[in-house]
């Protein structure tokens, strides 16, 4: 291991639980993960192994309690920070199941998020017209119809539309670290290409991307540098991009004792 600062994200021996007293369940049982700027990591693993939980612990979901370990972002322990503070530092989570928010306009929400980020960077808020331009160009790049601006956040969106909306939010916020939880699930072939294009546009020397996925097909478009397999709340195997191909062929049985 090199010095802490050379990694953008360091997850160290994270143990996480959900629930209280009798209902308490241990989900993550000592996860270690180190991601450098410029890298793309993929996390695979059976259903219920803890992938989404890991992503939410990093992003700061208050339902999950960290009983042991730490999460460093650019060398700073972020576990005490609220989710919105972590986001403003440059962490983005693309949800496996984006939640619907009736009554709140999608474009307004995006502008609000964008301006929060700008404020945190000490920049002036964008005026609505300037933001509209930015939004329009990002939507065009993701082949999204402008009527999604007027709709309530994710309300009545199809599964694929929700995922595309997540990538739109990522493009607007331009995070340093993007954790994308099964953003490829539920996408048709064309949508997959569009979404992969969005991810590749983010990719760059100052950025890190963690892709949680069940399928090789996304990794065909976005080639990972490192692949991890998570099972039973632990990372049981780490390898290169060939590991994903092996999982695709053989499943997880050979990895899970």
């Amino acid at each position: 291991m090199t010095t802490a600062t050379s990694y953008m994200l360091e997850v160290k021996d994270i143990h996480a639980t959900i629930g209280e007293s009798e209902d308490l369940t241990q989900i993550l049982k000592g996860i270690n993960l180190s991601v450098k700027a410029g890298e793309v990591h993929a996390i695979m693993g059976p259903n219920g192994s803890g992938k989404s939980t890991l992503s939410k612990v990093i992003a700061g979901h208050p339902d999950f309690k960290v009983s042991k370990g730490e999460v460093l972002f650019n060398g700073e322990n972020i576990l005490e920070l609220e989710a919105d503070e972590r986001s403003r530092k440059g962490i983005f989570l693309g949800f496996q199941y984006p939640v619907e928010i009736p009554g709140v306009n999608n474009a307004e929400f995006l502008r609000m998020a964008y301006n929060q980020r700008r404020k945190a960077e000490g920049k002036e808020e964008a005026d609505p017209l300037d933001f509209e331009e930015i939004l329009d160009s990002k939507m065009k790049a993701l082949d999204m119809d402008s009527r999604y601006k007027e709709r309530s956040i994710n309300e009545g969106f199809s599964g694929g539309e929700k995922k595309r909306n997540e990538i739109l939010q990522m493009a607007i916020l331009d995070p340093a670290l993007a954790i994308l939880d099964e953003t490829d699930s539920g996408l048709d072939v064309d949508a997959l290409k569009v979404v992969a294009g969005g991810i590749n546009r983010l990719r760059g020397p100052g950025k890190a991307i963690v892709l949680i996925t069940h399928y090789q097909r996304l990794l065909d478009y976005v080639q990972p540098d490192v692949v991890h397999v998570l099972s039973g709340g632990r990372i049981v195997k780490t390898g290169g991009k060939d590991l994903a191909l092996e999982v695709e062929k053989q499943g997880y049985d050979w990895l899970v004792k």
Binding site: P62, E82, D84, R86, G103, V104, F109, Q116, S152, I153
Partner: protein, 507 residues
């Protein structure tokens, strides 16, 4: 509050009781010394003005004194006395879903007015402190500073202190003045319509108001006239022991239209103040009144629930004419207790009643609010859209009645009552009553209760939006259908108010 006038709970009847009161309780010594007016402002947000008030208490003599003080015609004194006699026989309603200690009606001041009254010619005679108060509240009364498209009647404690843009309105025949002035200038209209929508004995608080009301606004829109600007009344309670009993009457003659806005605030006191207003609206054939309220009376200490306004108000409109329309929009964000059911009596055939409401309760507030739609005419239509938000330890109830009379064939109603809970200690209730007297009518009722979920808040937060702002965005989104009904300026103010109120609520 132990000043001489208050020791005797029932004041002497003579005019001798019109002693100038001491400064508002808690005011720094010397605050009202004459000649120091300019210096008084550093002392917080209770305005120090020289007031004339009656001692506490209510009796026939007090009512006669109010009437005499205002130099009223005999019909109005009769109206008041009739109401008072009824009130003495009535019981305070106890069916509302609210709790509060018994009110001692002898412990209230029924008349308080600033010593310096306005004249008809302008604002010169108004106590400059009052002008400053309204300016501070964002309601400058100086016509030069006013938005040119809104006329304001400013009511300070019991009395209308100024009405702007009167001349300009007069050019189109629109009458907009204080009700006291209308009693003298247009007694026939007052005699015909006062109490025609809310009879003196309608309910306990309305009877009390009819007996002791001191001021309020009067509007008359002549036939075929669209009022050239928005009219508004701004109510300010300032004196700690006084009740506010204002009375508003709006008449829209055939084919006329007016949009009327009402705003309210009060300073913080540890005690409760009673606000028992009556508002009556009348529309003749093809006329329309759009009545909007943003109510932000002091709601008491958010932690202890101490203090705040008891807002016990009767608001009712009568669509007398064919194809006439009355539309109520209310945003209720204040008051310790709200008891309020703006209603429509749809008399004229094809008349339309609407009620759009946002009621937010926070801290220890309690609200029991809703609407009544009484369908008497044929093919009458009504709709009710109610959004209740309860946070902290508050309780929020919707109560509504839709009644379709036997002869009201083809009547239709649509009601939608949605509640949203914020946090774990608040409660929401819905009490809809439907009475249909004929089979040819159609009544639809929808209701829902939702809660802001942790996952929704996390979604916002994961995009960098703080929790409080997320709550306020979700709540504002929930209320959108109602805000859309408000005039632009008011909609913005209403949204800000909600956000402010929710700021300290736990998610």
């Amino acid at each position: 509050m132990e000043n001489a006038a208050n020791k005797n709970p029932i004041p002497a009847p003579a005019d001798a009781t019109f002693a100038p009161t001491a400064p508002v309780p808690g005011a720094p010594a010397g605050a009202v010394a004459p000649g120091l007016a300019g210096e008084e402002y550093k002392y917080g947000f209770t305005t120090q003005v020289e007031m004339e008030t009656f001692g506490k208490g209510l009796s026939e003599d007090v009512i006669r004194a109010i009437s005499r003080k205002k130099n009223e015609p005999p019909f109005l004194l009769d109206f008041r006395l009739k109401a008072y006699k009824k009130w003495l026989t009535m019981q305070e309603p106890n069916w509302a879903h609210v709790k509060y200690p018994a009110i001692n009606y002898q412990d209230i001041v029924y008349f308080a007015e600033p010593k310096k009254r306005p004249t008809l010619t302008g604002l010169d005679e108004v106590d400059p402190e009052i002008l400053k108060t309204f300016e501070k509240l964002g309601i400058p009364l100086d016509e030069q500073k006013r938005l040119s498209n809104v006329a304001v009647d400013a009511v300070f404690d019991s009395v209308s202190v100024a009405t702007t843009h009167k001349k300009k309105l007069m050019e189109s025949g629109v009458i907009f003045c204080s009700i006291s002035e209308a009693v003298h200038e247009y007694p026939e209209l007052i005699e015909e319509y006062l109490g025609s929508v809310v009879p003196v004995a309608d309910n306990f608080y309305a009877a009390l108001n009819s007996a002791v009301f001191t001021d309020g606004s009067f509007v008359y829109i002549p036939p075929g006239t669209k009022c050239p600007m928005e009219l508004s009344t701004y109510f300010r309670i300032n004196t700690e022991e006084s009740g506010q009993f204002e009375r508003t009457l709006i008449i829209c003659a055939e084919g006329s239209y007016v949009s009327y806005l009402e705003g309210c605030t009060a300073p913080k006191f540890d005690t409760n103040q009673l606000h028992a207003a009556v508002v009556e609206l009348v529309t003749l054939d093809n006329a329309e009144i759009k009545y909007s309220t943003v109510q932000n009376w002091y709601s008491g200490d958010p932690q202890t629930g101490k203090g705040g306004i008891y807002n016990f108000v009767t608001k009712r409109g009568k669509c007398l004419g064919k194809k006439s329309k009355i539309s109520w929009t209310q945003v209720e964000t204040g008051s310790a207790i709200t008891w309020k059911y703006p209603s429509c009596i749809l008399v004229g055939d094809e008349s339309v009643g609407e009620f759009y409401s946002v009621a937010l309760t926070a801290g220890h507030m309690q609200a029991d609010t809703g609407s009544k739609m009484i369908h008497l005419g044929k093919n009458t239509k009504s709709s009710i859209i109610s959004k209740g938000i309860a946070s902290d330890f508050s309780s929020n109830a919707y109560r509504g009645l839709v009644r379709i009379a036997k002869n009201a064939t083809g009547a239709r109603n649509y009601s939608q009552c949605d509640s949203m809970l914020v946090g774990h200690n608040s409660s929401a209730h819905t009490f809809p009553y439907i009475e249909t007297g004929n089979a040819g009518s159609q009544v639809e009722h929808e209701a829902s209760t939702s809660k802001i979920s942790e996952d929704q808040l996390f979604y916002f937060q994961s995009r960098g939006i703080p929790r409080e702002e997320a709550i306020s965005m979700i709540v504002n989104g929930f209320c959108k259908d109602v805000f859309n009904q408000l005039p632009m300026e008011f909609a913005v103010e209403a949204q800000k108010l909600l956000s402010l109120k929710l700021e300290n609520s736990v998610g």
